[in-house]
Amino acid sequence: MAEHNGKVVINKLEKTYLDGKGKPAFTAVKGIDLIIEDGEFMVLVGPSGCGKSTTLRMVAGLEDISEGTISIGDTVVNKLEPKDRGIAMVFQNYALYPHLSVFTNMAFSLQLSKVPKAEIKKRVDIAAEILGLSDMLERKPKALSGGQRQRVAVGRAIVRNPKVFLFDEPLSNLDAKMRVQMRTEISNLHERLGTTILYVTHDQVEAMTMGDRICVMNAGEIMQVADPLTLYKHPENMFVASFIGSPPMNLIHGKLKLDNDQAYFIENEGDTHPLGTIKLKGPSAQKAKEIGSRPVVLGIRPEHLYERSQHENEAEFTAPVSLAEPMGAETLLHMDMANHRLIGRIQNDRLFKRREEVTLYLHLDKCSFFDPTTEQVL
């Protein structure tokens, strides 16, 4: 199966939905550029309604393209029928043919393209074997569990031997346990087949665990494309910073001040402002000097707050706990700050009480700074 060229190039892609009278009503995808390499597992992630499905459906050929081009394996596919694009798609609601057996569900595309019976049987059997469906080929979809149905849908995609697999939130209808299991299965499948996958989800955990690279979308635009770790460590804007990670990155509004070769971050005034003014040290001070004195948003991940001092470049502050969520190995501490809530993920072996004053250490080396108006990283 080494011959497939499943490189997908999306160029200035735009989608404007028309209303009943044929007038432009809503632009769901606003000119996005994205290159998915052959064999890559690309995840499209973003909040509901941001245009992920629309993008995927344009790649599939189920939705007309308003502007721009999509090419698959060096062929522009804008005008091609879905079946001629070398894609296979797995829908969120499985979309199985309820009146046909599992075997026929999987064989349908091959039967339509008049593949010889023996060949059909061979290919369906292989797919069923991979997915553990061999014993169920004669059943109707309604006699299957949710996970098995989704496997049939995946099997139906596999037998077509596509250049690109398209998944639209395939796991969101499954229960939590099944979801974790299917997640691994789809990852294994990718490993085994080596085919390009474009995978849509709104679940950032799914995105982080499955994708080679992740494309974060918001309101019809791409916010960042990167591998999971880069996305996590170096978000390019405040949207990605707050979307990826659970709990999300803390974003603290304030300003930078340079004074006598020293750099300070001053939190915006509010009812309480425990951070107040912190002195930046090490790389963060260096960064602040590059940025200069100006309003910024300081970003810090919850796990970079500590109860005990353990790094050289730290800022110490004291704040009352407004909510403590013991998770076992760690505790999520919520602290109300000036205009927001600060969350710390604290490794600990004690219980925190509400309104208890705790002293925490903020690891300055892990800070990011964002422009409060453009929301881009500085």
């Binding site: 798609m89 199985l96 309820p98 595309s109």
Partner: protein
């Protein structure tokens, strides 16, 4: 007064009520059957006729039989209808099947367009159909008459007093069925057809191979409903069909009810006859009327 005897009383009461109810439903039905087997053309007074006679059935089925004309002399004459009533039965079945088949074809395809396609004035057309269909067909009787007369000038086989002409008019009753089938199509997720499209099915193949089999129950219902309504339709048929050999069952049966003499016996025999195809149809269609045909395809 233990709870056991209480339950028994309740059970007895419930059964008594049900039996009474069934009797209420069955009595008219049995009366008609009885009437068709009794001697003389009277409205029957007993559920089991005192004297069984097959004369009405012989008349209806076109088997010659002897009828006493003069009771005192015992004089008889051999009787056979000019137009054998069984002919009306076949006429009715032919028209009902063809018209219902046509209705399926028209309403199925129209409903698909309304449920799945985008085109100008879609909603207006739908509402228009619904409003038009609220007027009874009878109101347009004059129009039907004129139209068929007009068509008859060019194609006599589709004009007045022809089965083709009547079928044509019957096909006009399609709009309610369009609404019914459209409603059913809309319960079927479009992603199933999109799957089929990705799998390489043309829109026509997706319709025939995927949507239609999933919609078998609604098509069975539509076929049965339209078949029944055309089997018993009187006003339009009575105006369009003018000669006895063209009549349908309803028109023919009505011809037994003269002002001065109502031939209830023959009428009843015809009525029983008309129940047969409907029963047969129900038995055939029963296997399509299964629920859950669309279950398991999608998860909402």
């Amino acid at each position: 007064m233990n709870s056991g005897s209480k339950r028994l009383t309740r059970k007895l009461l419930a059964h008594a009520f049900l039996i009474l109810f069934i009797m209420m439903i069955m009595t008219p039905f049995l009366t008609v059957i009885a009437s068709s087997f009794s001697r003389g053309n009277f409205a029957p007074s007993k559920l089991i006729p005192t004297e069984i006679s097959l004369n009405h059935w012989k008349y209806v089925l076109g088997i010659p039989y002897d009828e006493v004309v003069n009771v005192t002399t015992g004089e008889t004459r051999t009787l056979k209808a000019d137009v054998v009533p069984i002919r009306w039965f076949w006429n009715s079945i032919k028209i009902s099947i063809i018209a219902s088949g046509g209705i399926l074809l028209l309403s199925g395809t129209c409903a698909y367009a309304f449920a799945r396609m985008k085109f100008a004035f879609k909603n207006q057309t739908m509402t228009g159909l619904l409003i038009l269909q609220m007027f009874p067909m009878v109101l347009a009787l004059v129009a039907f008459y004129t139209i068929l007369e007009f068509i008859g000038q060019f194609a006599p086989r589709m004009g007045l007093n022809t089965h083709a002409g009547l079928t044509l008019i019957y096909l006009g009753g399609v709009s309610i069925y369009i609404w019914m089938i459209k409603g059913y199509f809309e319960t079927i997720s479009t992603s199933i057809e999109e799957s089929a499209r990705i799998d390489g099915a043309s829109p026509f193949q997706a319709f025939i191979l995927i949507l239609l089999p999933m919609s078998a129950p609604i098509f069975a219902v539509v076929f049965i409903l339209s078949f029944i309504s055309y089997m018993s339709e009187y006003p339009v048929a009575s105006v369009v069909l003018q000669t006895g050999d063209q009549w349908t069952l309803a028109v023919g049966a009505n011809s037994f009810l003269y002002e001065q003499q109502k031939l209830w016996g023959r009428f009843s025999a015809l009525a029983v006859l008309s129940g047969i195809p409907i029963t047969v149809l129900f038995i055939i269609c029963q296997r399509f009327l299964v629920s859950g045909l669309t279950a398991g395809g999608v998860k909402e």
